[in-house]
């Protein structure tokens, strides 16, 4: 049994992941230190915050007063610490109030939905629309300048924003199939909320809390600055800023400690929130958010070997590497095949065997972290691996075209089908608007789109997947290509639609004589439309031959095993000849024959060396040293 990764990596908790980043360590450390110092103010403060000394007013920092003194000669550091104490308590009260309101309501509305959700959301809309400052002023008037009352009110009023975000997350998680599975297995709603919904909301809750804390500090400072908080001489950060402002002309330094600390605290909370957001986003993507650089491009060695033969496309010894979190891995090793005008070559193999990378490498469309590290792609006598970006772009769409599994993603949802096709047509030839329109209708008729005039006026979301694939084919045909590369063009379609699209491809090929490179995992599709097959495994071509020969008798154990895996090939309701295990991830295949640990015919000699392609006849190669055993089998 092979597993996706070899080392059991444990998922990290949010906290640990945050602390693993420098930003996270610095901001969390700063906030923790501030928190501890303020709480311990009575113990560590060098002086009584209320003790006045009119002999020593407005001093700059000194040994006795580390941060100087204010206009009444009080120690600024001590006042900051005591003031911070009341600020922190106020913020904690506000945060607690917000969490108590927002978390239960957010999770409940998001998970339960229905009438309760509508009622709460209506209420939240109303709360959102009340002027917060007016309410706060009223509360301060009623509760006799109690910052606690003001912060709790702020927390409750601010809860609607947090609630919405938690609700959104809970709604997403509710759609996950594992929540349905848990319901079916008899878990109660409460259990599901605590075990499956809340853990996924943890990230957004932390982010929102730190953002709210930053906001609350600002508002609290503002209120005390305006003298709406506890009356002097009590120490508050806002009050200190206020005092500093009044003496700004005589002693500007006084603004630095209070203003600076407030700014730093707000900044730290904001950055911490951001860090948590980044970290939780990463935890759910497999790449770990790694930023990737392109793999080294191969040094420009002597000219590529002169292409043998006269094939339209001839891929020779093509190797491709990607830079991944685990370093550089080779995903294609010495891939080669030929394709002539009028032929259709099927690239077959399990996912992960390198079919799509091959197709993209031919087009020069590898992702940014991948590169051709060896070999050549000779198209019509030119090596495309040496072509410039601009030369490749000019070839694509005109002489080589591409259609993919998801035609919808290639279409821009905000433009009509007709105008998108028209733009493509006009990029190939300078045509008048009217001529382009005629050409578009002609293309749409060619791909058998019903009622082209009407269809041209539709937007992509107004057509079905099968129609979208026809539009994509029409776009591909706009430049009259010699080579069409089709990556699983019918996999996402229903069988009846798939049959129509295959029939269309066959007709177009007959009419235009273009060559088709078809990536598929479906032997039925190969039987229907291909003239040749190249079977790929773990980044190599293991067998290549005309379809008649492959379907007649596979010459590689992998081809044979893959064909036997089809339910069509086993009697009804009996075990299918499944291949054990799975395709090894790139770079993790065994030495010698890469198929060795799944091969029914493997022997000791298969482990010795890389297995070369063996030529079996004019048109057929196989990468197996025991292939004659296979052909001897019934």
């Amino acid at each position: 049994m092979t597993t996706a990764t070899d080392v059991p990596v444990r998922r990290r908790g949010v906290l640990r992941a945050v602390l693993a980043t420098a930003r996270g360590r610095i901001t969390a450390g700063f906030l923790l230190l501030l928190f501890a110092c303020c709480l311990l103010a009575p113990v560590i403060a060098p002086a009584d915050p209320l003790h006045q000394n009119l002999q020593e007013i407005l001093r700059t920092p000194s040994g006795a007063h580390w941060l100087g003194t204010d206009s009444l000669g009080r120690d600024v550091l001590s006042r900051l610490l005591y003031g911070g104490r009341s600020s922190i308590v106020g913020i904690l009260e506000g945060v607690a109030a917000q969490l108590v309101v927002a978390v239960p309501l957010g999770v409940a509305t998001g998970y339960l939905g229905g009438r309760f959700d509508r009622f709460v959301m209506r209420l939240a809309d109303i709360v959102m629309s009340v002027p917060v400052i007016v309410i706060l002023l009223a509360i301060l008037a009623i509760f006799d300048h109690s910052i606690a009352a003001a912060m709790i009110t702020l927390g409750v009023l601010g809860a609607s924003g947090m609630m919405r975000i938690i609700r959104g997350t809970a709604m997403t998680v509710r759609q996950e199939l594992y929540v349905s599975a848990a319901e079916l297995l008899g878990l109660s709603r409460t259990q599901i909320i605590f075990r499956h919904i809340l853990p996924r909301c943890r990230g957004v809750i932390i982010v929102q809390t730190s953002l709210f804390a930053a906001l609350a500090i600002g508002i609290q400072t503002g209120l005390t600055f305006l003298g709406l908080g506890p009356p002097p001489p009590a120490a508050t950060w806002g009050g200190m800023v206020n005092e500093a402002a009044t003496t700004l002309s005589t002693q500007p330094w006084l603004l630095a400690p209070s203003g600076g600390l407030i700014a730093l605290t707000v900044l730290a909370l904001g950055v911490l929130g951001d860090t948590v957001r980044d970290v939780t986003a990463q935890n759910h993507t497999s790449s770990g958010g790694l930023r990737v650089k392109p793999a080294r491009r191969r040094p420009d060695v002597a000219q590529a070997p002169v292409p043998e033969g006269t094939a339209l496309l001839s891929v020779r010894d093509l190797s491709v590497s990607f830079l991944t979190p685990r370093g550089e891995v080779e995903v294609l090793t010495g891939v080669g095949f030929d394709l002539d005008a009028g032929q259709t070559l099927g690239l077959v193999g399990e996912s992960g065997s390198g079919k799509s990378v091959t197709a993209r490498a031919v087009l020069g469309l590898l992702e940014a972290n991948g590169a051709v590290t060896g070999g050549s792609v000779i198209f019509d006598g030119r090596d495309l691996t040496r072509a410039t970006r601009r030369q490749l772009a000019a070839l694509r769409g005109t002489r080589i075209a591409l259609i993919s599994q998801e035609p919808m993603v290639a279409l821009d949802p905000s433009f009509r089908i007709g105008s998108q096709l028209s733009e493509i047509v006009r990029s190939h030839a300078r045509l008048s608007r009217e001529a382009a329109r005629r050409r578009v209708l002609e293309l749409m008729e060619m791909v058998e789109l019903p009622d082209p005039e009407e269809m041209a006026k539709r937007y992509p979301f107004q057509i079905s997947g099968g129609m979208a694939q026809r539009v994509a084919i029409a776009a591909a045909l706009a430049g009259s290509p010699d080579l069409l590369i089709a990556d699983e063009p019918t996999t996402a379609l229903d069988v009846t639609v798939q049959a129509d699209v295959l029939a269309l491809l066959r007709r177009l090929q007959r009419e235009t004589g273009m060559a088709v490179l078809l990536v598929t995992h479906d032997w039925g599709v190969v039987a229907d439309i291909c003239t040749h097959v190249a079977v790929m495994y773990a980044g190599q071509v293991v067998e290549q031959a005309p379809v008649e020969q492959v379907f007649g008798a596979p010459a590689h154990p992998y081809t044979a095993a893959l064909m036997a895996s089809s339910p069509e090939k086993a009697p009804r309701r009996t075990p299918i000849d499944a291949i054990a295990g799975a395709v090894p991830p790139p770079g993790a295949h065994p030495d010698g024959c890469r198929f060795r640990d799944r091969c029914a015919l493997s022997a000791a000699e298969c482990a010795d060396d890389d297995i070369p392609l063996v030529r079996l006849n004019e048109e057929r190669v196989s990468r197996c040293i025991r292939t004659e055993l296979l052909q001897a089998q019934p």
Binding site: L177, A499, R573, T574
Partner: protein, 352 residues
Amino acid sequence: MKGTATAEEAAELTVSDLVVDYPIGRRRHRRAVDGVSLSVPAGRAVGLVGESGSGKSSVAKAVLGMAPLSAGRITYGTTVLNDLRGPARPQDIQVVFQDPYSSLDPTKTIGYTLQEPLRAHCARTGRSLSAAARDELVRAMLAKVGLPAGTAERYPAQFSGGQRQRISIARALILQPRLLICDEAVSALDLSIQAQILNLLLELHLELGLSLLFITHDLSVVNHVAEDLVVMFRGRVMESGSAELVYRQPQHPYTRQLVMSAPMQDLEAQRARRERREALALPPARQAPLGEACPFAHRCPFAVDRCRSERPLLRSAPLGGQVACHLAGELPPWSDEHTQPREATGSTTSCP
């Protein structure tokens, strides 16, 4: 019916005249299932086929209490499932979904995911199960679906699609259900992995007498697993009957089109299928009929006037099974030697 020793506690699932409407916007709805009836007798494997949007998944969701029921009745044995939700539902019915990625909670270990239902079950029934006994059950279940014991300590992100599907099956089986609903459970998998999972499901079905409601768009897959087939189109049942009959002697024009469209892994057979399909020049795509008409009339090569004004009811067909077509029994005979059995499996159907 295939009687297996352990089937005594299993019960029959019956769905009668099911209608499912999804609300879209205010006061509007979309009918996904329009009067569907089917049954899964205890220990039997029933396949539900049709193209995307035909309402297959909505039938499954209705049975699982996850879709709004506008009409109809769903029973499991003597229990009416219509309004049962959450822990009140019998845990005898479990499901494996298509998407192996969203099926597992990324924040929980596999062990936790498999233990959770056991704990909830004990809490509900007041039984106690020691941690060691639970661990043992989990290990045994992982072994049964072909995963190593070390699996329990790992997180979903460390497994491939096929392995996740095995884990989903293990979770579905941990409370020893009697009926497993597989909604496109192998559709996202590679041919070789699909074969492994099909073998596992068949083994569980044949050895434990687990009933299967097997939903897929893939005829070759469903024909391999199912004893009975139900073919759906636009929310209605078009044809039903024994799988061998429906697959080999399709009597409904839609079923025939499905069979002819599925490409076969054989050059000769596929060429023959393709030619048959081309010969039946299909009418150009037209607007789908609404209201009282055959839902297939716009794509049917045999449609007559009556088809556009009268909805055909599901009725017994000449060769057996049931078909919803005005021309049932009057269509040209079907001969596709490639859908004939590959060899004698001992099962015989009476097709003239």
